[in-house]
């Protein structure tokens, strides 16, 4: 397990059709060496199909997979030298932990002595040295997951592919292993490609997230960029929660615009360099619930709205409120609980405000099945 640099992966125009159904539609992606890429999307979005095409289990209808610029599309899975952690781990039940981890080395014809040393190092990496002689079924879910990781890394793969690696674990363990996985990625400097439907996992682990929906790539970017500046309604909604406000542009300035929405006038300041939309056009805004603040008596903000609490719940770290407003419909807000100035109650009137740069304009998504 040397600290050798990772390898760069490129996906070019990848398409996979099953009869009339298009599972993956013309997806192109680049993963720089040593990067942690996550393919994120709801089930049926094509993320697993992309991973399987990279691994060599799915033959693309069109497009290519390149490793360091070399076309590897025709190679069978066993010749790609990729480590893979399968969903449900797929540990061999008839082999001990050490034999499982040694399997990739054994099929490569390495000698017993070489194997033993590497297996020990790999088990050491995931802190399972003491469990070498156990059978997989004698391990907990988290331990099995680590064995699968060690097995995928033991032969110095060019790339590590992870198919929903944490989905079978409970929430607390998942958070723990997320941190371990992240630390592992930093330590060994390999290129990782992860598939998940869990947006928190994607945000916390990845250097780059690729968001997929209906087989199409919707947006690619770093976690912050994607969260703060979603390109479409789907991205804003899938990655975290969001309020959506629709209105007509009334006035444009150099770095922002004013919007009329349901009788209210909203100020929007653009954070990323972009041209403000022309006057009269209809714009959809995404506003994260945590960017709303409770306004005290006499306090003002760029944008203000008044309403009554229709529903609320306590989340420990915060209160989640659904506020019915006169002009903007229902608005969701999350307020920090420890310094909330109010005790939420249904029917309570309050004023909420947000800064002009808190809301970002997003596009409506193309309807599914639209292949243009």
């Amino acid at each position: 397990m040397s600290g050798a640099a990772g390898h760069a992966l490129a996906i070019r125009g990848l398409t996979k059709r099953y009869g009339a159904f298009t599972a993956v539609d013309d997806v192109s992606l680049d993963v720089a060496q040593g990067q942690f890429l996550t393919l994120l999307g709801p089930s049926g979005s094509g993320k697993t199909t992309i991973l399987m095409a990279v691994a060599g289990f799915v033959e693309p209808t069109a497009g290519a997979v390149l490793l360091d610029g070399r076309d590897i599309t025709p190679l069978p899975p066993e010749r790609r030298e990729f480590g893979m952690v399968f969903q449900g781990y797929a540990l061999f039940p008839h082999m001990s932990v050490a034999e499982n981890v040694g399997f990739p080395l054994r099929v490569r014809g390495q000698s017993r002595a070489d194997r033993d040393a590497k297996v020990r190092a790999a088990l050491d990496l995931v802190q399972l040295e003491k469990f070498a002689d156990r059978l997989p079924r004698q391990l907990s879910g988290g331990q099995q997951q680590r064995v699968a990781l060690a097995r995928a890394l033991v032969f110095d793969p060019t790339l590590l592919l992870l198919d929903e690696p944490l989905s079978a674990l409970d929430k607390k363990l998942r958070a723990e292993l997320q941190e371990e996985l992240k630390a592992l990625h930093r330590r060994i400097g390999r290129t990782f490609v992860n598939v998940t439907h869990d947006q928190e996992e994607a945000l916390s682990l990845s250097d780059t997230i690729a968001i997929l929906n209906h087989g199409k790539l919707v947006q690619v970017g770093g976690p912050t960029a994607l969260y703060e500046r979603p390109r479409t309604r789907f991205v804003a909604d899938f990655l975290g929660k969001s309020n959506f406000l629709e209105g007509t542009v009334r006035e444009s300035t150099l770095d922002g615009f004013a919007l009329e929405a349901g009788g209210a006038r909203l100020q929007v300041k653009l954070t990323a360099p972009a041209f403000p939309p022309p006057g009269g056009s209809v714009v959809l805004l995404s506003l994260r619930p945590e960017k709303l603040a409770l306004l005290a008596e006499g306090e003002t903000a760029d944008n203000m709205v008044e309403g009554t609490i229709r529903a609320w719940s306590y989340l420990g770290a915060g209160f989640s409120l659904v506020v019915a407003t006169e002009h903007l419909g229902e608005i969701r807000a999350v307020l920090p609980a420890w310094k909330a100035a109010i005790a939420p109650a249904e029917g309570l009137r309050l004023r909420l405000g947000w800064a002009a740069d808190a809301a970002v304009p997003v596009e409506e998504d193309a309807p599914p099945g639209d292949t243009t």
Binding site: A55, F57, E78, G83, Q87, P93, V107
Partner: protein, 278 residues
């Protein structure tokens, strides 16, 4: 015994009585006769060690059963493997092909083999018309004929336990093995074969035990020249009226079956093998 316990016993009483009257009592009687005819004592069992003809029958039976088991396992494994890999549509056709022979009388099948294998049968005629042989081969009324008929009969019994073991193998394991660098051959040898071993052992035990007591097939295809245990017992009791010797061999047959089961119950889960479910 608690009241509910008693209630359960009353419920299964008819089944217990049925077993006692029709199964356990006759077996007990067989055992009793083997020790009492023609005179009380171990005389019949002594023959196991002194009579060459008794030993020959036992050795022939064991040899035929072992060869049958090995051949049925090899053929059955190939069929079960093909069914496991087949598409769902093809799978139901395969299953039909495996199960249909089971519904045809063993007598009919034995005579069918006789017509195929005898001197002027289809096989010999064809081989001679091709000029491959000048004299008909002795294919039937010998050990070879018995083996053909028995293997044919046993293959479905070999297929079913192996198939159920193979279908329990998670296909992701095979994909995982390839993803980790194993060739198709390595996946088969190091993952598929070891994981289907419980089914192979179960099939082997099943086929071997069935083969031990085979009667009709060896009687017809062996032509009375190659004797297996079951036919020999019937000969002793029905033709030679030597009840003592016949029941002694019957007892040995039961003991052999019980010993086989006892040995392999340590290796495989017999309850699952006979369909009791996990």
């Amino acid at each position: 015994m608690t009241r509910t316990g008693l209630g359960w016993w009353v419920l299964i009483l008819p089944a217990v009585l049925l077993l006692l009257v029709f199964y356990i009592a006759p077996i007990a009687q067989v055992l009793a006769i083997s020790f009492s005819e023609p005179e009380p004592g171990f005389g019949n069992y002594e023959r196991l060690f002194t009579s060459e003809s008794v030993q020959r029958v036992i050795l022939t039976t064991l040899r035929i059963c072992l060869i049958t088991t090995v051949l049925a396992l090899l053929l059955g494994f190939a069929v079960a493997y093909a069914i496991t890999l087949a598409s769902p549509r093809a799978r139901s056709w395969w299953m039909l092909a495996v199960l249909v022979p089971l519904w045809i009388s063993v007598l009919v099948r034995a005579f069918a083999w006789v017509t195929l294998l005898r001197r002027q049968g289809l096989v010999n005629d064809t081989l001679m018309s091709w000029g491959l042989i000048s004299e008909p081969l002795p294919l039937v009324w010998n050990e070879f004929g018995i083996l053909v008929g028995m293997v044919h009969y046993m293959v479905p019994f070999a297929v079913l336990p192996m198939l159920s073991a193979m279908r329990e193998i998670d296909p992701r394991l095979l994909a995982a093995a390839r993803g980790l660098g194993a060739s198709r051959g390595q996946v088969f040898r190091q993952v598929f074969l070891p994981l289907s071993m419980p089914g192979v052992i179960a099939s082997g035990v099943l086929v071997f035990i069935f083969s031990l007591g085979f009667y009709i097939t060896p009687a017809i295809l062996g032509g009375g020249k190659t004797l297996m245990v079951a036919e020999w017992i019937s000969l002793q009791i029905l033709d030679l009226i030597r009840w003592g010797l016949g029941t002694m061999m019957a007892t040995m047959l039961i003991v052999a079956i019980l010993v086989t089961l006892a040995v392999f119950s340590r290796v495989v889960d017999l309850r699952r093998m006979f369909g009791a479910g996990g």
